[in-house]
């Protein structure tokens, strides 16, 4: 088992590492539209028909219900559909032979004759509720008890994404990674499987949205973690962009309200909120050149002289520089390199060796200098000695020269044959100012505004813009159109200009011309343009050159820009969504303001992440009355009601009335109550474990994604405590639930079963759940991570050294065939009539004496027995009306016959398996089945669908349903895959607003819901006896170590 030494296991880091070792990728086959239609025409339609088989599916982006094809190629089963967004293929089942073997046990009868909606199911899965078309009753009812969660989602920005910060009171657009360099990451934390660090910078602020106003708010935490995977690039209609991790939430304007949506949930047309206007700038801006020049190359520091040093004591430098210091003193100037060693402060003059030109050490950015800067950014470049500005118009030349003269800079004019004139600013000192103090990068594609441009006073900003537009701006005049524009190959420059204009209250749009559309272009061209009344305002502000003014002419009456304004913000529509691969640190903020939002990228309002991401969001917690109604609704399905209920969330253990709810489920006649939990609260509250066990919780359905802290970052360190508390409380039984993902944890499936066998006293089963990739997931990612039931079964075979083989598994509906027999003898109804592709199961018994694991199929011919039962089906159906003697005779015949399907030679020793089975059959009640479970480990697989492998034929046979307080009961795979119609919508309808919740629970503190795993806890667990007993001192039943 891998270990992390000396640090909290970074689930994310190891996740990244494990996905780096891609063991295999499933190549999805291509199929043309013509091939698709040809196959569709000859496809079978009836349930269980041969491949190719026709069904219906849902399109991930447009949500259309479309025809889909389930077909076979290269021994695998695929599902393909034609969506408006294109042909989509995904892996349906990795083993066509297993698919056909399982299909033999399909259950064809309809078992549900009650409904909860009037919809007929003709529009399945849009008709859910149950509709009258649904074929299976509820075998397992799910009830969401709360959307409160003890973990939090961690979503972030890539390292080079930019945010408008105020650092020590100074506004700047800065990359996240550059701010990170200033942060002391003192604190470690793990949240929802992601591990990272954060610091608490006292000096950092961002812009937030407060009742429509753009206001500065303090950053409470600055966070980072590693991310390997996708980042999303969101582009809006006005050309603004931002990049985030898929989970990052955006504020979306919907029906006059702001709601939050993840990046991977956004759709084109969604309305985002962006910055239009904010206040910034001061009265005067000066650069401290002495500070700024600390960054310049050392050889330059030797050539720059600090003048006016007469009052300084240079004696501390004598040891290093000898008598030179006397020369400096008498000349009144010294090299900058030496000056720094003095540590002196004050105001001086700076010059460069051999030139008379000087600058004050505190250089004020005047209007003239700002204009010159604007011209330089527009049309200038650095040489290794000087600054040059290309001028194409006389009025531009005149203005540039005027600014240069005002600044007292040395200059000359250069005009080579056939080339445009250049103004050469012959000051290396000024070159250093531009490059290091103002931070204007080299090369056109990297150009930016000076790093502190937002601190410039109003007039200076205007001068800067004047220089930019006079240099590289243009006027576009059409018949009715009039705009001012600025084009650059530097997208970063355009971003700076958007913020500069926003600080002046001027709205602009961005349009990008891809380089492919321009002959010989190496870069995309980004065009920023201003029209309407904003253009009028801009024209009034700027000192535009004559050429622009002539072209503008009489601007006339201009309209207000057609965007919806919300105070200092505006609403902009998502135009496109793209993804790119990413590997590195990602960052996020927690802000102090109650809006939990900040402006990032090109001014997009996004959610503050992290610990309290859901603070302020509505809380969904059905009342006890509503829960009782949901329980009853499923219980009274006709003719077979639900017998098992799973209480889920969020995190259900956060509900204070959980014990009452568990008791209620039993009151309403449920035999089996299970809790879907991460177990964390149970790790630290042994009393709670006892109480829920006493209340009647039969099973903890507990997330368990792997054997190491890397693969099971959710609760690896808490599991030993959970196990200890469950043992002390005498229950409940635990079912481990690994979400199985190819290339992530699919190499640990055998080890997880081994682990379960080692804790058979409390672990009842392992239920593998192959990944359901809900949301927009690119094909490449699906190829990397998709695994099906058949794939998981194959891996288990390999990873148990052929102890549990492919042949040992059975499809879920086989239980239906056995259940009919059970019902006849015991009256109990335990049907599970799902689609044959939805799940699989088996039992393994542990022969402790010989340390042998024996799947049930090795000593019971399950299929043979079920075939026999089928042959007796008619007789069994008549059981209730039979006379007593006839019943006894049939019962004896069946039990005797069963013995012929049982081979004692291969049965596990020391276990009276036959007695267990007989007991289960004889009594058929929950207790009897429980005894059976105590000595065996149930292994299950349940593959919940996503948009890509969605099969309506599976939906209409689903046996795992969610009850909702609006009276409907909905299949699992519609509740979660189409949440906008079911889960999220109904929860929104029934949620408490934040204010209502706080009023009802005045003592409740949101922060107390959250769990923080500390470094100290991990170290303590790692070194504990309990940890050793749980994970290390265990038997290796499959020879895994070999």
């Amino acid at each position: 088992m891998a270990e992390n030494v000396g640090e909290i296991p970074s689930g994310e880091k190891e996740f990244a590492q494990s996905t780096r070792r891609i063991r295999d990728i499933v190549e999805f086959p291509e199929i043309s539209e013509d091939e698709f239609h040809a196959l569709l025409r000859k496809a079978s339609r009836a349930y269980g028909g041969p491949l190719p088989h026709r069904t219906l599916s849902i399109c991930p982006e447009t949500r259309r219900i479309v025809q889909a094809l389930v077909w076979e190629k290269d021994g695998k089963v695929w599902v393909t559909k034609k969506c408006p967004e294109g042909m989509i293929t995904d892996l349906y089942y990795e083993d066509v032979d297993l698919y056909y073997r399982f299909s033999k046990w399909r259950w064809e009868e309809k078992e549900l004759y009650s409904a909860n909606v009037e919809n007929t199911g003709v529009n399945c899965p849009l008709d859910c509720g149950m509709c009258s078309r649904h074929r299976s009753h509820t075998s397992l009812l799910n009830i969401v008890l709360t959307n409160r969660c003890n973990l939090a989602c961690w979503y972030c920005l890539p390292k080079d994404e930019e945010v408008l910060f105020r650092i020590h009171g100074k506004p700047q657009i800065v990359k996240m990674e550059d701010v990170a360099k200033l942060v002391d990451f003192k604190y470690s934390v793990e949240i929802d499987g992601f591990s990272g660090e954060y610091g608490r910078p006292e000096w950092l602020e961002v812009l937030t949205f407060k009742d429509g106003k753009a206001e500065w708010t303090k950053v409470a935490k600055f966070l980072r973690r590693r991310h390997r995977g996708k980042v999303y690039r969101i582009t809006t209609h006005t050309g603004r962009t931002i990049r985030t991790t898929p989970e990052h939430k955006f504020f979306v304007y919907s029906n006059g309200e702001l709601i939050k949506k993840r990046a991977d949930e956004l759709k084109t047309g969604d309305e985002l909120v962006l910055l239009w206007n904010f206040e910034g700038g001061g009265d005067k801006f000066e650069i401290d050149l002495l500070e700024a020049f600390r960054e310049i190359p050392e050889e330059e520091k030797e050539k720059i002289y600090v003048r006016g040093i007469g009052g300084l004591d240079l004696s501390p430098l004598r040891k290093e520089y000898g008598d030179k210091v006397y020369g400096w003193k008498s000349n009144g100037s010294m090299p900058l390199a030496a000056f720094y060693k003095l540590g002196a402060t004050g105001e001086f003059r700076l010059g460069r060796d051999g030139t008379p030109f000087e600058l004050p050490s505190r250089l004020e950015i005047t209007q003239a200098l700002a204009k010159l800067i604007g011209y330089f950014i527009a049309d200038g470049h650095y040489t290794d000695k000087d600054l040059r500005i290309t001028v194409g118009h006389d009025d531009v030349e005149e203005e540039v020269v005027s600014a240069i003269r005002e600044l007292g800079l040395p200059y000359s004019l250069l005009q080579a044959e056939g080339k445009a004139k250049q103004i050469v600013i012959g000051s290396r000192l000024m070159r250093l100012v531009f490059k290091y103090a103002l931070g204007i990068p080299e090369k056109a594609e990297n150009k930016r505004l000076p790093r502190d441009f937002l601190r410039f006073p109003f007039e200076v900003k205007v001068a800067l813009l004047s220089g930019l537009f006079n240099g590289d701006g243009y006027v576009v005049r059409g018949e009715r159109h009039l705009s001012m524009g600025y084009a650059s190959v530097s997208r970063a420059l355009i971003r700076d200009m958007l913020y500069l204009l926003a600080s002046l209250g001027v709205f602009a749009r961005v349009y990008t011309v891809p380089k492919e559309k321009m002959n010989g272009a190496n870069y995309d061209l980004h065009k920023l343009y201003i029209a309407g009344q904003d253009m009028v305002r801009l024209v009034e502000l700027l000192e535009l050159r004559e050429g622009h003014r002539e072209r503008l002419g009489d601007v006339g009456e201009r309209k207000q820009v057609r965007v919806e304004r919300v105070g200092d913000f505006f609403v902009d529509v998502v135009e496109s969504i793209g993804t790119e691969d990413y590997d590195g640190y990602v960052y996020d903020l927690e802000v102090e303001s109650g809006e939990h939002a900040f402006v990032a990228g090109d001014g997009v309002l996004i959610s503050n992440c992290f610990f309290y991401a859901k603070e302020g969001q509505p809380i969904y917690e059905p009342t006890l009355e509503q829960i009782r109604q949901m329980l009853r609704n499923a219980k009274k399905q006709y003719p077979i009601g639900a017998n098992a209920v799973q209480l889920t969330g969020g995190e259900p253990t956060l509900r204070e009335d959980l014990v009452e709810i568990i008791k209620m489920a039993h009151e309403e006649g449920y035999d089996h109550v299970q809790l879907n939990t991460d177990g964390i609260k149970l790790a630290f509250d042994p009393e709670l474990v006892k109480r829920i066990r006493e209340a009647g919780t039969n099973t903890l359905y507990m997330s368990y994604d792997g054997m190491t802290p890397q693969t099971n970052w959710k609760n690896h360190w808490e599991v030993p405590l959970i196990f200890e508390n469950v043992r002390k409380a005498g229950g409940p039984g635990i079912v481990l639930v690994p979400t199985t993902i190819r290339n992530v944890n699919d190499h640990e499936l055998g080890a997880i079963i081994n682990f379960g066998l080692n804790h058979l006293d409390i672990v009842r089963g392992v239920n593998f759940q192959p990944i359901s990739q809900v949301g927009r997931v690119p094909r490449r990612e699906r190829q990397r991570f998709r695994i099906t039931i058949a794939g998981a079964i194959k891996r288990i075979e390999q990873q148990t050294n052929d102890v549990i083989t492919r042949e040992d598994w059975y499809p879920i509906p086989i239980a239906g065939h056995i259940a009919r027999f059970f019902e006849a003898f015991t009256g109990s109804k335990y049907y599970m009539t799902s689609h044959f592709a939805c799940g699989a199961a088996t039992y393994v018994f542990l022969d402790r004496e010989h340390k042998r694991v024996v799947p049930i199929s090795r000593f019971v011919d399950v299929e043979g027995f079920v075939n026999f039962l089928e042959s007796k089906a008619e007789e069994i159906e008549r059981w209730k009306t039979m006379g007593r003697l006839r019943k006894l005779k049939l019962g004896a015949e069946i039990f005797l016959k069963f013995k012929s399907f049982y081979d004692d030679k291969y049965a596990p020793k020391g276990l009276k398996v036959l007695d267990l089975i007989k007991n289960a059959f004889m009594h058929g009640n929950y207790d009897a089945l429980g005894k059976f479970h105590e000595n065996s480990l149930f292994l299950g697989m349940m593959h919940f669908m996503d948009e890509y492998n969605y099969d309506v034929e599976r939906v209409e046979r689903c046996v795992i349903h969610y009850a909702m307080p609006d009276g409907r009961i909905v299949p699992f795979c519609t509740f979660n895959v189409i949440p906008e119609l079911y889960r999220d919508k109904v929860q929104a309808q029934y949620s408490y607003t934040w204010e209502e919740w706080k009023a009802l629970h005045p003592d409740w503190d949101y922060k107390k819901d959250k769990y923080f795993r500390t470094k100290e806890f991990v170290e303590k667990m790692r070194n504990s006896e309990l940890y050793r007993k749980t994970y290390i001192d265990i038997e290796d039943y499959f020879g895994l170590a070999k």
Partner: protein, 101 residues
Amino acid sequence: MSVGPDKRLTRLELKFGDVNWERATIKQYELEKELAVWRVFINGYTKSGFVVFDGDLLPKEEVLKRLSELKPEVTAEKEVTVAELVESSMSWNNIFGKVRG
């Protein structure tokens, strides 16, 4: 709570002059996304359907406007409370088909 049991909803029974299954599913999905819509069914084969919605959040005119492409005709209209809607959805109130022996 966002909604109380006594909240009054409007139920419209509809006939459609221009509909098929595909267009019915598209329109049903669009309407069903709305928080104001509690139940909706558009049957492209029988060219009929109904919608139950909160008229305070989504006026009837807007509902009909959204369906205008299908040429809807309101054949009946009534009010129902949330509690009544939920009660009418209960399994025991909607039993059909054979009785299992």
